[in-house]
């Protein structure tokens, strides 16, 4: 290793990892823990403050200046108050579940790149705890393990609400995880790697796309280049973290608090809360890394030569993280919760098929690009394949559309016939109905009698 204090603008690659002395690794791991813990404490404060501003309220403003210490006070209270262990719960599973959900949430952050190579106490090291050839897969794996925490919390509580909430939440998270995994494929097609540091490096410069002798410069962020993937990812990251508008597991009108109903506000509940927010930070960090250029400075700042060197990129990463988190809060303030059947239908019938079709399209375009430069003879083959795919997809779509249309018309005709029958004979549906010809009264003191059939 050559002690080189000038940071490499191209950023670290996979070969730069796994060489840190132990104490550097410990510093980085400690930093991730502290960063995420403080992030949750002030993230909760930030969310409450921002959402109350959006709703014309003040939000927390008692504990500390601007209510900054509100979450600290809440956390302390949760650690020190009595913890109720209901009599019927499965004790081992019940206590294990919050740990199973909280620990993997932290692990995902080990592969999120915060910055390029820096000199840390004289050791040249990347600002990222570790990187793997399968780094993005690690995040997906960790979120799958987190699902175990949800299932076990619901099952171990032995309460109907908790079981239902656990099942619902699990079905939702795993459904959206498939769409999430598929939305990464287009990124891997362009980056050619699963390693997060190299994906960030690939977004440094866009390259060009030669179309009929014309060189079109491609944008460098995958969010712009692969905008359908990015939009699908944004939707799935809301579903994956159980946030509004997909916060069905916490549909308090239906399920009390879902899988953590039996965890009264104790430290165990705090761990669920912590895991939820850390997961939000993880999917935000992944969005930044895979789609929004990672720690690299956005355009006006990147004109400055020093923008992507040294410790500055940590600032850009942090600003991007705050902005993505603010987007989560904005969505929460704007959108209502959607219905559960709509949620599942959207995930399986819209997101996944759309994703598959988009992957095929991206792969074809990529193959076309490669074919142009390598084997010009195969261009017609690719075009034929693309035509077959487009025609096939359209045929399937129209077939489904006609069937659905026919079904909808039949349903409407059925309902209309029913309504007609019930109009003529109100008791025909088999339900007891009030006598429809009874008079009723209007006004407070007028007692004005209104005949039946009018309002």
């Amino acid at each position: 290793m050559i002690p080189n204090l000038v940071a490499d603008p191209a950023g670290p690659t996979l070969a730069d990892f796994g060489k840190d002395p132990l104490w550097i690794s410990i510093i980085k791991a400690l930093f991730i823990f502290v960063f995420l813990m403080l992030g949750v404490l002030f993230g909760v404060w930030f969310e409450r403050k921002l959402i109350s501003r959006m709703q014309h309220r003040y939000g927390p403003n008692r504990a500390g200046k601007f209510g900054l210490l509100q979450s600290v006070a809440d956390g302390l209270k949760m650690g020190l108050k009595e913890d109720i262990l209901p009599r019927v719960v499965d004790k081992v599973v019940y206590i294990l579940a919050p740990v199973i959900i909280a620990v993997p949430a932290f692990l995902s952050y080990s592969i999120i790149p915060f910055g390029p190579m820096v000199s840390m106490f004289g050791v040249r090291t990347p600002l990222q705890l570790t990187d793997l050839p399968v780094a993005v897969l690690l995040v997906l794996a960790m979120s799958s393990i987190g699902v175990y925490g949800i299932v076990l919390a619901g099952w171990g509580s032995r309460s109907p609400y908790a079981v239902l909430g656990g099942l619902r939440s699990t079905a939702q998270v795993i459904s959206y995880e498939i769409a999430m995994g598929l939305s990464f494929v287009a990124v891997f097609l362009f980056a050619g790697t699963l390693s997060t540091s190299e994906i960030v490096a690939k977004q440094a410069s866009g390259g060009t796309w030669s179309l009929g002798g014309l060189d079109i410069p491609l944008p460098s962020w995958y969010a712009i280049l692969l905008i359908p993937s990015f939009l699908i990812y944004v939707i799935t990251m809301l579903g994956e973290t159980n946030r509004v508008p997909f916060d069905l597991p916490e549909g308090e009108g239906e399920l009390v608090a879902g899988y953590h109903t039996e965890y009264s506000s104790s430290l165990k509940f705090a761990m669920f809360q912590l895991a939820e927010y850390v997961n939000v930070f993880t999917v935000s960090g992944l969005a930044i890394t895979l789609f929004l250029g990672g720690w690299r400075a956005p355009w006006p700042i990147s004109l400055w030569d020093g923008a992507n060197t040294g410790w500055w990129p940590m600032l850009w990463f942090f600003v991007k993280l705050v902005l993505v988190f603010a987007f989560f809060i904005w969505v929460r303030a704007s959108l209502p919760r959607i219905r559960y059947d709509q949620l599942m239908a959207f995930g399986w019938k819209v997101l996944i098929p759309l994703n598959l079709a988009w992957i095929l399209l991206v792969a074809t375009v990529r193959a076309l690009q490669n074919a142009r430069s390598e084997q010009p003879g195969s261009v017609p083959v690719v075009l034929v394949i693309a035509a077959i795919v487009v025609i096939g997809a359209l045929a399937i779509y129209f077939r489904f559309d006609t069937v659905n249309q026919r079904r909808r018309e039949a349903k409407a005709a059925e309902v209309a016939a029913d309504m007609e029958l019930l109009d003529a004979e109100p008791t025909a549906g088999g339900f007891p109905v009030p006598a429809l010809d009874l008079p009723h009264y209007h006004g407070v003191n007028g007692r004005k009698e209104v005949p039946s059939g009018t309002n």
Binding site: M1, K19, E82, P86, V99, V185, F188, K349
Partner: protein
């Protein structure tokens, strides 16, 4: 454990060590995480009051006495979704290595056509589940 790999000459073993050092950090973070949370639970157990009464320890059912044994029966639909998840998540993971080598030289048209066939099978799977009304929530 991570430190000495880089100073040795590049032999096969040091490469393997470096490779696993990346994973060792993840394992170490896992151990640290378990220790932190288990420690927090233990500390809270030592510090908090504990005065249980029979009423406090009942299952929450919106203020009325709990009915039944606790575990409510649920629809089989969730189980079917779990199967679908296993099938499609594994399929999605198969796409990852393909996506990384796709543009490499030597993987020409054949790779593309193979993946089209593979994705067609996945698409058929979704259509089958759709047709069987597994995806419909009534």
């Amino acid at each position: 454990m991570g430190g000495h790999g880089s100073r040795e000459p590049e032999t096969g073993w040091s490469t393997v060590n470096e490779y696993f050092a990346s994973y060792a950090v993840v394992a170490a973070l896992l151990a640290a995480g378990v220790a932190v949370f288990a420690g927090a639970l233990l500390a809270s157990r030592l510090l908090r009051p504990d005065r249980p009464t029979p009423e406090k320890l009942t299952t929450y059912e919106c203020g009325v006495d709990p009915v039944g044994e606790g575990w409510a029966q649920s629809q089989i639909r969730y189980y079917v979704y779990t199967y679908l998840y296993v099938v499609f998540a594994v399929d999605a993971v198969f796409l990852f290595p393909w996506a990384t080598v796709f543009a490499a030289p030597g993987f020409g048209m054949t790779t593309l056509v193979e993946m089209f066939v593979f994705l067609a099978f996945i698409g058929l799977g979704i259509l089958y589940a759709w047709r069987k009304r597994v995806l419909t929530w009534t």
